[in-house]
Symmetry: D3
């Protein structure tokens, strides 16, 4: 079975893949014929595909997010690789393949990621801060097991959000040791909370975002998380005007740094400055790592990366 | 008694004024002498002033926000008019002058402004929206009687915020009549709520803002008002995910239109688009009107106005 | 007969439509076959269409801006709806359909719009201003009966420009009542003149702009209108340096507010500030209203709207 | 007599200078004393000065734009050189000094500059273009003898505007020879007309701009010149829609290249592209030359130059 | 034989052309058929083409950068002209056509361009500057015979870079005569060196850039040239800190004027300011001239030009 | 002895301080009197001061960068604290105070910082990279003992540059452990080299930058360091086109991330992306820490910080 990342022009191949997207379309011919416009993926990447001879039965058989066995031929179309599917059938239990093997996911098991996040959460010394963090985590705990951190920007895969949080917690722990003037409780809380409302902002399945929710578009995850902190504080009878509550809301509201990037206020506490830069460091390096991982090793350059000034990354040979 | 707006170079005058700012300083001479660096104001405007011969008693006598009787001489200093105070004494009850006569204030009585706002609020047909608006208005009702709408930008005077709201409500009413596809309840609510947290963002007395509060700087009035709507909805047991609650929060969050102007989301409902433009229309025209009012009629141009691309306004003669 | 706005995927339908665009193309096959690449429209919207079996007679029969009867099938192509035309014939007098029924147009009759504009024009008290406005209106009077206000941006339909002017005049009248310090003559004149040269800037038929004129591109409607005011003033022997003439030219030149939006000077009279904001309020709200109108009611979101920061509008449900 | 450019800290000197600015002020002392806040200039540069012991007679004697003989001492104040005037008297006819010797001016006599401009104008082959240019030149001919090209930006001295035009004409002639596809008539006309309305935009005396005119602020020199072309064309009965008239107006309107620099349209003819870059080349190099000229030769760096990205220029030593 | 620039819709033609690009693709049909996606060019321009019936022999016969004889038909595809190739064969020696006749190239012979550049180089009086320039020219001398100045931006043809340098040298010579305060040696050196590393930044053949080199992307031609000057100075034992060496590096580093255009420092010597503007003037006017040349004379407007604010150029008719 | 950071209004104090700046000026009085305009500093901060009665001896006695004993009084001038010096004398050896006690400096001894940097340098496994780094470090080794990292932006104190490098090396080490796909040699080299030319860009004494050097202004530290790498590679006979040399130059050239921040190319290797973000994280957090350290603990807000979007930092109280 060939990984999608390994396919090159004129390859003939057979293998199991996930039908990430599938749409029934019609050719321009007369009479028009039905065909499937498909995106096949596995854990190594994804590729467009066409299946030209769709039978009435096929229309009842194939749906997005199903596993299929495909025999196909790779060719180039508009300077990109594309698959022409010659044969296709649904995977059966006998095939012994499972959905989660075919999607990109964080390199650490979700259950371990959540465990780490909770462990850090429990290590927060300030009781009020710990309660507020726990309140917000509880709201999305189930989704945190599988949600990506973004649609395409970075950590766009299964459990990507939890992975992003855990890696930031590692950096945060180091920076707090290096610079004891930072309040470790606020750093921990800020990291866990900064994107905590993303699972309510986006609609995702198997780590793949299909759309943004209405409240995601009208309020955004930053204001949503700020509202949740209000809700948490009210439910525990905390003073909404305390430095604790305001400090947490400030961390969340300011973590995009600039107004044009979505933050209504700019970082104005030491921890808010740290949070923004830890977030940035982790997100950008992950973009680089993921781009290198999903680019064939023979290619010296990755594709352009939107989040990195739309530049590609060069694979230095030393 | 001469209005400050009327004073010109070399004028000698006597009159009652408000000590808007007063600071004790020392000359560079040897020995240094105490003097007062003062800002005098009345309802027509304000001017810098110096009082050079400060006695020990004076230091115990004069404080900011007190009324004084002044004999002075106007001269120019660094191309601006300045007052040299020759004599100064505190105003006494016998003088029959009252603080509120000496500050700029909205042309309508605060009590009438509040009455109008409440009347419009009570006319909101949707019960949930009405309750949320009332909840937020109650939080700042007392301050709404006198708070300005901004430090210097626009409506920067006694009851300026309430006046801004009332004028916007008038425009909003007209626009809803002209364009029935707009939801009048949301327009009314949006106008009343859009700046409702400003009294918590700024610290003001007699319509004069001295500073921003900690939560004003760390959260900003936009996120504060969004939190209040959460609080209101929770206290009435409303669904935080309803179009009502989200719609109101969206109105508040988006009313600055762009990220670089402080809005974390851009207007995405008809009423949010309307709210931003009604706000803009009222604020800009008030800046113009106020600048013309506080510029001597003999001057063809007002000073530069920051909120109007830093341009002055010309007094067209027809 | 089905309105285009109502068509959904897989619909089969018969109806009369306007051939808004029609181009003869050839398929890639060997031998290549002729086909028509078409845009069909009616008053409710427009949709792409293909007619695959073009006969030599067809080539002599069908031309843009003609009415046709079509039998077709809706399918999706590149995520957009498209029509496959199965049969097509020209509409005949017997069909009893008329061109203007098939184009989007202002909701008020052109003749009534022009009547209103002239009525307001005649109410201008200053004789010179009235004469200049009349001079400019006369230049484009005929085109004002049907020209849109823009190619796609806003009021992009039959008599859209006149409709834009009339609605702005309504707002202007209200604002002048609310703020008597504004000069009503200048507001009226500014509103009527601000886009008055648009019919010379664009080439349009039936409310549809096909291109910009050479002088539209090289001078722009703003400078054109300024030139017309010069021409009017000269023809009546008025002083080009009077506050009247300069004031009117300033209104026109500054109404886009910023240099990057096409205004060589920024608003510096009270009326110029008002004009810009009235223009903005009307144009933006009309974009919203038109987007909601041409989006099927079942869709919660309109398409992205370029003039609104490229955001879609959400149909709040209350 | 010492040139101002040569004065250094602690210099004592005697010489004739022009009172470029003079304002009567009062010290903070008690009683306050009158003093003059002065700017002295000669052809080499200018410097601030104070005269501390102003007598009542002095107030009647000294006015801006008069020539004086001064005995003074140079010291530094806030990191800039300043003159303390010890003695001052008005220049008399016997002194044999004349105003124009004390101002910066173009290195070519105004009469010669005008002669060159007219000569080029007369060499324009297209009769209509020549007439329009002549019409506009006539409007400002007298002022062209002495107006600067800008308040401070570039060529800010006596006859600076005419000098700017003449130098651009030299470059234009060379470029037209190098690139015969350019229309030499349009290049000549564009260069002469591009800033032709500046004398109406600014109020200047002896090459020193004191302010902008009302029409300068409300219309700007670009739109003013465009209006003049309309006026010229109308007065000669030319077709306003001809490529000639539109082409000339386009040259003027687009010569600032971008909207944010004041051009309502961008260059869209070959000659308009050329005009913008010739203007830019001449203006920037003149800024450099003038900055080097007015900086003492011992200084390796000029002051910061606003028009050159606010950078200073280094005097390379080779 | 028809020039590509002359081809219009529905033309049938026979002629020799260069296969600028050629890619083997497959149709969507079943079974899919091979076809060539081609770009044909000659010295007058280029056009897309399809060849639908590709035989196995054809695949071995046709490659990019080969000359072919083509019989074809012009049609429109997606609003652009495209060629359907009916017959195609390789050019043979008997055809008497030569590669360089089919590519766009500078209007002056490369050998003459290089001669001129060297002549100017030899006229540099300062020995060190002359040596450094010669060192750098030697590095790319061979490529200078045919390299373009950019991929598409300007002078994008055979020997375009040398042509750009020569034309700039002409302008530079004129400007140095007009303004003797400029150092002619530095102007000459700056012009020759400013883009001297472009042949190492880009990979080009026959004046056509196919890609950027790794060092082109990672360092850019500006830093590369700066490194070369270091290398030259070291190899001749010159002082790296002399005004000479720093001055030359400054010319190269600053010639894009702004950071966002790629210059790490802004022009801060007279010659650096001149260099940027001479570069700009030549590049922009060449874009205009080339756009007009490659647009059919019947077209009043050229296509949009990216380097000219994405505007088209109008062919003024006088 | 009172630390400058502790001084408040009306304090009388005696202590030793460093004369960071001293300028002889004259009062406006008649006759004018000499006075010293002074900046006093110690390791805790700095403050303006005036000494009004300067004797001729004083002029020969006091110079910048000398230690003095001062008796003074703190007052406010233009809303800032200022010292009026009543007595001043030079420090003598008997006073037992030493210059370095009075300047802000890194919290780690320079010798230890250099030791760490060299240790890391020696741990670079790639021999060529190690040699290049060593070559560049040697160039500035002495200055690295005391140079600040910037004039005012961040780490603006004694040995600030070495401290910045060491802290970045700590972060870099952690990040390389966390993300093994990064090349540790390049990260180490990039951190040591990124600002290595700053000591040649700026002129500093005791950690205080007085100016930029000519080559600092004309080339900038980024291009200077790139040149040094060329020089190092040439001196060791390395291939200038190897991924090693290009990779190191890319790290230095791209570390400011954007053109408008001074980088001629954007980061396009994994290590370059990491370097920029590590630099940013360290610099911003140090700005925060230093601002909090030099602000009296009683102040809840630091002054505005230019490098942090010109925002102040709030001292959260938990």
């Amino acid at each position: 079975m060939t990984l999608i990342k390994m396919l090159t022009n004129q390859d003939e191949f057979v293998g199991f893949y996930l039908l990430k997207e599938l749409e029934l379309k019609q050719t321009n011919g007369s009479p028009p014929k039905d065909y499937f416009d498909i995106v096949l993926c596995d854990a190594s990447g994804q590729m467009s595909a066409k299946y030209w001879d769709v039978s009435p039965t096929d229309k009842e058989t194939f749906f997005p997010m199903g596993l299929v066995k495909v025999r196909g031929l790779v060719h180039t179309y508009r300077e990109k690789l594309q698959i022409k599917i010659n044969r296709i059938r649904k995977a059966t239990p006998e095939d012994g393949v499972s959905l989660t093997d075919f999607i990109r996911s964080a390199p650490i098991r979700p259950v371990d990621l959540i465990f780490t996040i909770k462990q850090v959460m429990d290590s927060i010394e300030d009781q009020d801060i710990r309660k507020i963090v726990a309140f917000c985590v509880t709201k999305v705990e189930e989704k945190l097991m599988h949600y990506p951190a973004a649609k395409t920007h970075h950590h766009a895969y299964y459990a990507g959000l939890a992975y992003h949080i855990v890696r930031m917690l590692e950096i945060g722990e180091f920076i707090c040791k290096q610079r004891p003037f930072l309040n470790a409780d606020l750093i921990k809380a800020g990291i866990i909370l900064h994107d905590i409302a993303k699972p309510e902002e986006m609609i995702a399945q198997l780590g793949i975002v299909s759309d943004y929710s209405v409240k995601g578009k009208l309020l955004g995850h930053i204001s949503l998380a700020s509202n949740w902190i209000t809700e948490a504080a009210l439910s525990y009878g905390m003073d909404l005007d305390s430095d604790r509550v305001i400090g947490l809301q400030h961390l969340v509201l300011s973590h995009h740094n600039l107004g044009e990037w979505g933050s209504p206020v700019q970082p104005q506490t030491a921890e808010a400055v740290a949070l923004h830069h830890i977030d940035s460091l982790d997100a950008k390096l992950q973009m680089v790592e993921d781009a290198l991982d999903t680019t064939p090793e023979t290619e010296p350059w990755t594709p352009l990366i939107r989040g990195l000034e739309n530049k590609p990354i060069y694979r230095t040979k030393l």
